[in-house]
């Protein structure tokens, strides 16, 4: 199963991004192979439609869960119809490696 995590930088020590659509990097973590992939977000500076475009990017990577600080209004119905689980973490101090540790429990 793959999990997408929004990140502010391209290292495991960078903190998670509070925004989903305009985050700096997506981290795609595979829980089975334990592989980590960093994808720079092309919609970072988009004026509008960043959310749906990011959903498309994550959906093409076949992620089942998304960990982020917040999700926008347009994204929720999209993710509901794609059956992707949203996980909202309201603690911006957490790093990407923290999340990966959590996922391995």
């Amino acid at each position: 199963m793959k999990v997408a995590i929004t990140s502010t930088g391209n290292s495991l020590e960078s903190k998670i991004d509070k925004r989903f659509g305009r985050c700096s990097f997506f981290v795609i973590y595979d829980t089975e192979t334990k592989s980590v992939e960093f994808i720079p977000n092309p919609n970072k500076d988009a004026e509008e439609g960043a959310g749906p475009a990011s959903v498309q990017l994550v959906a093409t990577r076949k992620a089942d869960k998304i960990v982020s600080g917040e999700f926008g209004l347009k994204i929720k119905p999209l993710l509901d119809s794609l059956k992707i689980q949203m996980i909202v973490l309201k603690e911006p101090e957490r790093t990407v490696s923290d999340i990966i540790d959590y996922l391995n429990h």
Partner: protein, 204 residues
């Protein structure tokens, strides 16, 4: 002038109760249906508009085989309202079939939702996209310390805490009495020193 005022007052009083938001769990895959055959495009007929709540009512009752009571609880409306919506959708679909009209699925007073959960051990909020089974453990840390998150209840709690006390107080001598609803505090006069009362701890 007075008559206009009275008529306006009556209109305000007589306005219908606001519709509840209907909860829709699954969006339709398609935006509508088109008839086919030689007669289908002969004259431009108005399409039948099916609201999202009506689609959801039909799905719950005829596809998921819920009874009306279960379906109304899922959509967060009363059972009679559900039955009315369900009657409307059957009427509309029958009309479309008989008259050969298009069906367009759009609009309605709805909100799209999935159940939200809150995990105590890692502090995350997660939704449950799979309606068939309930979330047993936290999707992030796997702990069993997870419970359903009720957005309305949490908000009401903070509202009640922020609002002022239900007590009137005299600003001069500190005499207190219970506040009567719908009666302004300053219309009460303190029996001790004859000053108008104010609300205690008014944070508004």
């Amino acid at each position: 002038m007075f008559i206009i005022f009275v008529v306006n007052k009556c209109l305000i009083k007589m306005s219908p109760r606001i519709k509840r938001n209907r909860k829709v769990l699954n969006l339709p895959l398609i935006k509508g249906f088109k008839p086919y055959g030689p007669e289908s495009g002969s004259d431009k007929k108005e399409p039948v508009i099916l609201l999202y709540e009506e689609y959801e009512a039909l799905r719950l009752c005829d596809y998921d085989m819920c009874n009306h009571l279960e379906a109304s609880a899922i959509m967060n409306i009363s059972r009679p309202t559900y039955t009315r919506i369900y009657a409307a959708v059957r009427q509309k679909i029958a009309k479309a079939f008989v008259e050969g009209r298009q069906i367009v699925i759009e609009g309605g007073k709805v909100y799209f939702d999935s159940d939200w959960y809150h995990c105590e051990s890692c502090g995350c909020y997660a939704n449950n996209p799979d309606k068939e089974k309930s979330l047993g453990n936290c999707p992030l840390c796997g702990s069993l310390n997870i419970h359903e998150y009720d957005y309305d209840n949490e908000n009401n709690l903070t509202d009640a805490e922020e609002s002022c006390d239900n007590v009137c107080i005299c600003p001069e001598c500190g005499y207190e009495q219970e506040h009567l609803r719908a009666r302004p505090c300053n219309s009460d006069i303190c029996p001790e020193c004859n000053t108008p009362m104010v609300r205690k701890n008014n944070n508004k």
